[in-house]
């Protein structure tokens, strides 16, 4: 039925509810890729591929999988790409959608995350797609409200639909085989929910993941996630089947974590010379938006190995698959209760 609360210590008055750390689709939500089984991940990729194939073949006339489903896109953090991607998927599947962004919202008037989402749920929305700066925000809302929740990025924890679209992109490039493949993820790992979701998904599917980046931006005990940490980006990329470049935010220079973008670009930037270290068929990925010339050289971003725009296309398809799954689970939960 609904989200399983495995509380070893029943929490009084609802505060600080403790539940077993499975952030997966626990029947009802997509909160993260951590804990998702390989079978579930591959099924979602198959479903996404189905939507992609249909849209390519038949055009994008709206279908009806989500007809009658009301979705709220609650974006407490700015994001054009992810939000538009979700909106497109929702529209193509015939959903009714409303989008909400932080600026000018009641949140800026001090209303809490929970109250805002509660208000949206009280209006009868079936699903909430949530992006918020607090790690665990999606799980938090899922714990308190009776709606299906899709995590569109919760602080530095996970961005599961991004993880899934990255996996779909890699599956295409790798002819369906994840095991035995090697991927380098380069850049600001510490602040990257994209990296975390990718790590969870890839390690689940048996891919060897190697991280590289400035020590100031590498999280503590990263190896315990089941990955390698390479001393240099060249070490990470040598013989790899793919490289994922992460976005470097201006903030990192401003908060004393890095001296400059130019030094970063020289030492960790994905340029032609470093790309040449990869296997011949390897691909280059980036979650976007890109800082051309910083974490990725323009010629690489536009080059033959780049799958950056394929990632974007795959994003709409993946989000469609996820929406359908979570909507179905929400409907089943409602029917079970009736």
């Amino acid at each position: 039925m609904s989200l399983t609360l495995q509380s070893a210590h029943p929490a009084p008055s609802g505060a600080g509810i403790f539940f077993a750390p499975s952030t997966a689709i626990r029947g009802r939500h997509l909160l993260g890729l951590e804990g998702l089984s390989p079978a579930t991940i591959l099924e979602i990729l198959d479903e996404a591929e189905g939507f992609r194939a249909r849209w390519r073949a038949e055009g994008k006339a709206p279908s009806r999988e989500l007809r009658g489903v009301e979705v709220g896109n609650a974006f407490f953090e700015d994001s054009t790409r992810t939000r538009v991607s979700f909106e497109l998927a929702q529209k193509r599947l015939g959903a009714t959608l409303v989008s909400f962004s932080a600026a000018g919202s009641s949140v800026s008037k001090g209303e809490t995350l929970l109250d805002t989402c509660h208000t949206l749920a009280a209006m009868g929305l079936d699903l909430l797609v949530i992006r918020h700066r607090a790690p665990g925000a999606a799980a938090y809302v899922a714990r308190h409200l009776d709606v299906g929740v899709i995590n569109a990025g919760d602080g530095t924890r996970e961005h599961p639909t991004q993880g899934l679209l990255d996996l779909l992109t890699l599956r295409d490039a790798w002819n369906g085989r994840f095991e035995g493949r090697r991927i380098a993820i380069v850049g600001d790992i510490a602040h990257s929910r994209v990296a975390r979701s990718a790590i969870h998904g890839l390690t689940t599917l048996g891919t060897e993941v190697t991280l590289a980046g400035p020590a100031t931006l590498m999280p503590e005990d990263a190896e315990l996630l089941g990955v390698h940490v390479a001393p240099t980006v060249e070490d990470a990329m040598a013989g790899a089947d793919a490289v994922m470049a992460l976005r470097l935010q201006r903030e990192r220079m401003e908060t004393g974590l890095l001296p400059s973008t130019s030094e970063y670009a020289r030492v960790w930037g994905i340029g032609e010379e470093r790309v040449a270290l990869l296997k011949p068929e390897a691909i280059v990925m980036h979650p976007g938006p890109m800082n051309r010339g910083i974490e990725i050289a323009p010629e690489v971003a536009d080059g033959p190995r780049s799958r950056i725009f394929a990632q974007v296309e795959n994003g709409v398809a993946v989000r469609a698959a996820v929406l359908v799954r979570v909507a179905r689970a929400a409907r089943e939960a409602r029917e079970a209760r009736a």
């Binding site: 509380s7 070893a8 210590h9 029943p10 929490a11 009084p12 008055s13 609802g14 505060a15 600080g16 509810i17 403790f18 539940f19 077993a20 750390p21 952030t23 951590e34 809490t112 995350l113 929970l114 918020h132 700066r133 607090a134 790690p135 665990g136 925000a137 799980a139 938090y140 919760d154 602080g155 530095t156 924890r157 996970e158 929910r193 975390r196 999280p219 503590e220 005990d221 990263a222 315990l224 996630l225």
Partner: protein
Amino acid sequence: MNGVTLIRGARHWRTGERIEIAFAGGEILDHVPASPERVVDAAGTILAPGLVDLHVHLREPGQSAKETIETGARAAAAGGFTAVACMPNTRPPVDDVAGVEWVRRRARDAACRVHPIAAVTVGQQGEQLTEFLALRAAGAVALSDDGHPIMSAGLMRRALEYATHAGLPIVAHEEDLTLRGEGVMNEGFTATRLGHRGIPSAAESVMVRRDVELAELTRGRVHFAHLSCAASFAALRDARRRGLAVSGETCPHYWTLTDEAVGADDTNAKMNPPLRSDRDLEATIEAIVDGTVDCFATDHAPHTAEEKGQPFDAAPFGIVGLETALGLTLTALVRPGHLRPERAIELWTEAPRRLFSLPAVSLEPGSPADLVLIDPDLEWTVDASQFQSKGRNTPFDGWRLTGRAIATFCRGTQTFALEGTLAGARS
């Protein structure tokens, strides 16, 4: 009718011998009167001086939604405490004589003795020293900017020097804010996994080491609050070896939990200093066993359910501790054999009283009748909904513990009685 209470059948906490004591007028008598007004049959229990908690946040003045002096004192009594020292990070902070007097007045009828700790600096802003001698004269038992570290080494030096005139220890909340950054939990694998910003244990230990050096420079007295990590205990051990007048406390959560307790963002496992690694937990127990730790304290920090019900990032730091402290001591330190029961009780009674020069309490005639009866074998389940404290923010809810205070007496008046125990006990 002679106002005399007789407790009999209990065992002396230190000697283990059967003991009978009578008290009246708030004092232990040197004889047992013929017909005491009340007889408490305390067979099966240990009789000890009431426990003392040198580190609690009673939230008054100004934050009474979280706790009041009255509710906090009741929580203390329920935990077997007869005295607490309360921290001054209130609204307004207790940084002047009026503030100290306010707290003492407010606590006059409270269920335990309340000793105010006054701020080291005005407003706890870390800039200007408060009037240490006047504060001491008004009843402050220590000085602290707890809640905040004293970031300026220069100011800490002057505070330690000036405090020698007042004879008060400075209780140091050790945390380098530039290392702590925007951390919300211990820096380590759990934080990495959860995507939470981490607070490295070095944020605490670099400041402990700094203030060890300043204690040497000034020959001043520092008491390190809520020590949580191996590196801090190592620094304290080193300072002890050098003969410096430093002391340190640790809290039950550091000997029972690690950062894994955060689990899926349980805000009841969020406090500062945070729960640390396995290695730090082991080091905490080692430091307790080898005497590096001078006393125990709870850092009782109540918050409303609303506040703790926020997303992890936003929720305030702090957990309550008065009502689980003794149980966690007996269950996690005594039962597994790390500490003898009398040593554990000493760390909650004689040691804190000595450190803050509080009036001595013993089981001898003439001593104040601040007493606790402990049933070391009583099995019980922590139920936060039944706490006397307004705060329910504990990571121990639902825990099965063995050992509990079943009756507390302060100034000869019974301040707590556990229902269903003790013939002759009256709530």
